[in-house]
Each structure stands twice: as C-alpha cells, then as structure tokens.
C-alpha cells in the first residue's frame, strides 16, 4: 500500500453559527480543504457526523454535501450531469469524524479511490435545551443508560468521582486539563475561546455534574473541518506545505454501556487502538511529539493519557498538574485548545484534531507551534471510549 498524504485541510471557526446551516458549514470546510490542496478534485466524500438525524432531521449527508459542495463532474449537456462522486456518512458517536477519516484512509490506501475528501460536521444550534442532551444520549446504550436518565455528562461525572476516590486525586486534580486547553486556545483563531483561565477561575466555576464543573466539560458547538487525502504518487511535484502522511490508522471498540465494564477507569479500546497504531506505523511512543487527546470531559483526557501509555493508571492527571502537557512540555496535548477551548463540534471533532495535528507538523500552528514536531498522535473517542480511533501523522522530508 502506498503512503496516504494529507494534501489539503480546511476548518471553520468553532462556535455558535446561527447564520449558517449544516450544509453551509460543511461546504465551507470542504472548499477550504480543496483550495488548500491547490485544487485537487476528490472522487469520494466521507462525512463524519453524529447528530444531524436527531438535531437537524437530516440524514443522507453524503449525497447532500457532494451536491452542495459542487463535487460532481459538471457537464450539464450530458445524461450523467451532476452525478458521479461517491459519498457516504460514517458514524461512531463522538469518534465519527475519526471514523470518516479512517474510511477515507482505507479508500485511498487500497487504491480504490485516488483522492478522497473527508469532512466532519456538527450543528448544535438548530435546537436548544434538553433536545441536545437527548440527542447526545443516543450515542450511549439507549435501552440501559439513556432510558434511566443517564446522560454522557453524568457518566463522565461518575467516572471522575471514582477516579478521585480510587487514586486519591484532589478535587481540583483535573484542573490542569482545562487550564492547558484555554491557554492554548488563545493562540488558535478557529477556537471558540481565546482567553487563558486561572486556577482561581476554575475553583469558582459553577458545577455541572458534581464533581465536574463548567471547565471540566467541553462546550457543544457548531463546526466543520475537512481533509483531502491522496496517495504520494498522485501529488503535484511542488507542494505548498511540508508533506504529512497518515502513518497509521487503528480503530477499536468496547462495550457501549459503561456499566458492562470490569474496570470502568481503564479505556481498554483506547489502549488497543494506540498499540495497533504504533505497531502499524513502526513508531515508538517516545517519538510522539504531540498528542491530540479527546478532552470532551477533563476526566477523559486523564484516562486517554493513561490508556495511550503516556502515564500509568491513575497518574494521567499529574501530567496536566505538572505542566507536562503544555506546549513546551514532555508531551504537548490539546495544542490548539482541544475540545475545551476550541469547542466540541461532536462528530466533527476527529477531523478537527487531525487538521490541528497536520498544522503542527507542517509548521503552520502559529503562536502554538511545537518546535520540530514530526510525529503526532490523535485519539478520538465515542462515548467513554466505546469507540477509540487512533491516527498517527508523520511529517516527511525536512
């Protein structure tokens, strides 16, 4: 199989896009990625989305976005006018964007598709209030969890409480995660929040679901991000930016219901997918220059670091408390703000993570640039690591 290269990338700012529809949001990112590639034309579109059927009453996003993105071959005189491009939606809860990236990677790596466009999109602001939480709960085990009123936030709170009890973590032990995220969001113009927060602000924050406060829970927000993938041999000779390849893609799942796990504090699927990805890429964990974890809840960031092998069980929070995940730390994380400060665009998150990691490896991360970054690991989670998808990106050449 040939190398799969990220030939272009695009993203909208994350936020409350009241003025943009789901389709407009997605198309903005898609066109930006095509432009960034120098105009490569995709033959396939893979859409990562989690909630459009529930929140926007819109499924079948593949055909919708291929059309509105103007991706069809355009001879209007011909019988086959405006038809042609392959288009499908891939869903795996909060890991939907990463799942779409993985399908795009498989399509291109296999040689079945030459150029694939991957777009992650989520639109929360078409509805308000409890409908959003109900939609998010469709990604949990409906018959055993949602039906009892257990929302994803409540689940995360229970995990955090247990984590604090089990490993003797102080009540503000997770604060390092949002502090790092908000410090990094300041340097990302696509982020929802651009202001660093203090530990004092964390202490004063309103509780959301005890012990999680407002800063432990990423804000649901609208956004779309896109990646254009192709094989190395199909690239134009002159690339505008340094070449980044997808060195590995690995996906694993665990029980959807958190109550079905022997050890809820161990993200087993995350461990499996990280180990598979490292093996496939032929890369040692120590070579990873930055780690884009899935910090939709601060407790998830801690458990992700542990499952990925960057910290022993129960010690992930210390990496945040000690500054090891900062931009100049031992293992920089959430380098452009993560879900907490960039904002959490649901099923688009995995593509945002990949866009941000690629920007780092291409030296385009602006004030947040990690010096000499060559290898990035991205981990996307659906639910409490019910789905865990890991990608490793690597910069080629100089």
């Amino acid at each position: 199989m040939s190398d799969v290269i990220i030939a272009g990338l695009g993203q909208t700012p994350v936020g409350e896009h009241w003025e943009l529809s789901l389709r407009s949001l997605a198309v903005k990112a898609m066109l930006a990625a095509i432009k960034d590639s120098g105009g490569l034309r995709p033959q396939a579109l893979f859409v990562g989305n989690m909630l459009a059927p529930a929140l926007s009453r819109q499924a079948h996003l593949g055909a919708l976005l291929a059309d509105f993105g103007g991706l069809h071959p355009g001879d209007e005189q011909d019988r086959v006018h405006r038809a042609g491009i392959e288009a499908e939606t891939v869903e795996a809860g909060g890991a939907s964007g990463a799942a779409a990236l993985r399908q795009g990677y498989m399509a291109v790596a296999s040689g079945l598709v030459d150029v694939a466009l991957v777009v992650g999109v989520e639109k929360f602001t078409d509805v308000v209030g409890p409908e959003v939480e109900a939609a998010l709960a469709t990604a949990t085990d409906g018959d055993f969890e949602a039906i009892q009123g257990v929302t994803p936030t409540a689940q995360a709170a229970m995990l955090a409480r247990r984590y604090m009890h089990e490993f003797k973590v102080p009540t503000d032990g997770l604060a390092g995660f949002p502090l790092t995220a908000h410090a990094n969001g300041a340097g990302n113009r696509h982020a929802m929040f651009h202001k660093a927060i203090s530990l004092e602000a964390y202490h004063k924050a309103e509780p959301v679901s005890d012990p999680l406060n407002m800063f432990d829970v990423a804000p649901n927000a609208d956004g779309a991000a896109a990646l254009l993938l192709t094989r190395a041999e199909l690239l134009p000779k002159e690339l505008q930016h340094p070449r980044v390849r997808i060195a590995a893609s690995a996906s694993a799942s665990d029980t959807l219901g958190l109550h079905n796990r022997l050890d809820p504090l161990w993200f087993a699927a995350a461990q499996v997918s990280v180990e598979q990805a490292l093996r496939k890429a032929g890369i040692q964990r120590e070579q990873v220059d930055l780690f884009e974890y899935h910090d939709v809840f601060s407790i998830f960031a801690a458990l992700s670091l542990e499952a990925a092998g960057f910290a022993p069980a129960g010690q992930g929070w210390k990496l945040a408390a000690d500054g090891a995940i900062g931009l100049t730390g031992q293992i920089p994380c959430a380098t452009l703000g993560g879900s907490k400060a960039r904002g959490n665009p649901g099923g688009a998150t995995g593509v945002y993570q990949a866009v941000e990691a690629a920007l780092q490896l291409q030296g385009r991360a602006g004030p947040n640039q990690i010096a000499q970054a060559r290898v990035a690991m991205i981990q996307s989670l659906g639910g409490p690591a019910s789905t865990a998808i890991t990608h490793i990106l690597e910069r080629q050449g100089n």
Copy 2:
C-alpha cells in the same frame, strides 16, 4: 488486491418483530453469518443502518452490536477484556446496507482487515404512524423537500406520474413489478409475504399516493442481514458452499433533492455506478444472470432497469409487463421477492439483496433458484438514486 469472498451469510425473516429489539435483531443475523462461515472471527464490524437515531433514539450501533454480538476477544482476566474489534456505522439513506458492504469490501480488499462482518439492520416497529414517515424524510433534502411536506412516497408518485405521461405508459404499466415480486416471495421463507397476487388484485388495491397503489409501495418492516467477508487466501480449504466473490463495488451519488435534476426520470448515479462496476469486474452486461434492483417503489424498479442498461429510457416497465424479469426470463429480478414481497427493511436492504444474490450463486435459493447463475448484479438506492451503489457477485469454480 486479492479477491474478497463472501464466507458466510445470515438473515432474519423480514416482518414486524415486536418481540425483538434492534440489537437482538442485528445479533441474530450476525451470529447466523458467523455460523454459516464455519466460525470465522471478524476483526471489524460495519453496520448499515438508516433510521435508528430517529426511530429508536439509538446511534453508535457499531460499539453496541460488537459488544452484544460477542465479537470482542474474551479474556476477562486481562485489562483489555471485551475490547478490540473495530466497529462503525455507515449511512447513505436506503443504500446504507450497500454502503456498509462497500466499506467492508474496501477494508478486506485493502488488506487492512482480514475478516469483516457486515450487518444491515432496521427496526421500524418501535414507533408507529407519522413518526415513521418523518424519519424516512430525513433521507431527503430536509431544508427543501421534507419541510414542504414532500415525503419519499409522494416523490415516487410524482416520478411515476411523469413517467407515465412522458413515455405513454398505461396506468397499470408498473403492475408487472409487484406481480413478479409477490410470485417470487412465495418461495422465500424469510420474506414478509408468501402469496402471489393477480393483476385483478393490483387493479383493486387502495391508492397510496396517486398513481401508486398499495402494491407499488414496499412495506416498511424490521429485519437484519449479515455477510462475513474475507480474502481468498484466508479461507479454509473446504468450503461448505460454492465460492462467491465480490467482483466489483462501485458507489455514486446525485443531487439529494429531486427538484435539482435536469432529468428526474434518469437515475444518473445508478448509471455511473453500474458502468463503473461492470468495468471494474471486467464483465459484460449480457453476462449478468440476475439483477437485484431496488424496488422500494415500482417506479424505482423501472428506472433502475433503464439506468443499468437493461432497457432503453422509458421502456423498463415493459420488461416487467412481458415477463422478462421473471425467474426464467431474460433478466430475472427481485428473485426472492425484492423489497415489495420480502419487505423493505430500510437501511438493511442492501445487505439482504447481497445475501439473496449470494444464495442464488451458491445454488441455495430453493424453489426460486436461477439455473446456472454465475453472475449477479445488485443495485441499492438511497432516495431517488441520490446514492446508488452497485455490487457484482460472481461464483467461482464449478
């Protein structure tokens, strides 16, 4: 790329499964496919589903079904207990099952996955009445069609009316499609209806959306079907059934909104995907022994036959009227009842079609067996061919 072989298949009867949940239904088909393969263990699960987020408030089916299907490596002493298998959902409206099959095909063909399980599942009977039609309408262009009250059935009725006008088709010109489907359903124990119908019954049937009557519209019903895919070199030497390979897989899309087409009576995406599939398989149209079209509406069957090149534009209905699509006709279609008599399990349909085509090629189609069938073409549509996915299956050896 190596040949991708259908190593096992399974299906539940199609019908109103009030006693079975979405997950139970899917797991039945999954376990049947694994058993049929002689017990091959999949490393990846691709779920085709269209409506679970809307009808069952359940997304994230990949992780759910991997767990409930018992697909995880099972060492409960280990930290990685019950985690491991890759699992994602693929959605493309009514073509969701075929889209999942295509992803499974890509995963196995590329060498990234050795054994993939594909399951299509749909559960309609958790809700009743207008909620179902509203859910189905999420697969149309919500902002321009559903919001005006245009349902998929109303769209199909408009297409049928225009077809009759444009090509001077008698008002009962489409009757041959349901007559053939119901004649064939009689021989399929998994079908919802087992009784042939007469032209007289067709004439007397209640209108649904003029000019379509009850027999022009396939009944929404619960069902799940599954296929186990692997590469030729990984198969056990002794196979229980003749070997069937996926000779080609091709997917194309068209505008989601029917009103955006220059010629609504031409299923351009279907044409594109059929031509790509024939080219990829190196097979001539004349070699196709049976065609499983997407007859969720009788007018779709006519337009599918035309787009696939089995009849000129406006003449597809004659193949049904003349008996050419019957079991011993020139191009047998809906050989085990099609969506009309087997029942229409929404996003599971594409997998049912593939299971039925494989049964034909393996000589396991019972009273409906097509003599010496070696090549089958399957076409799955999402919306009015907004998505069109074509697979070609071929029997190998004797």
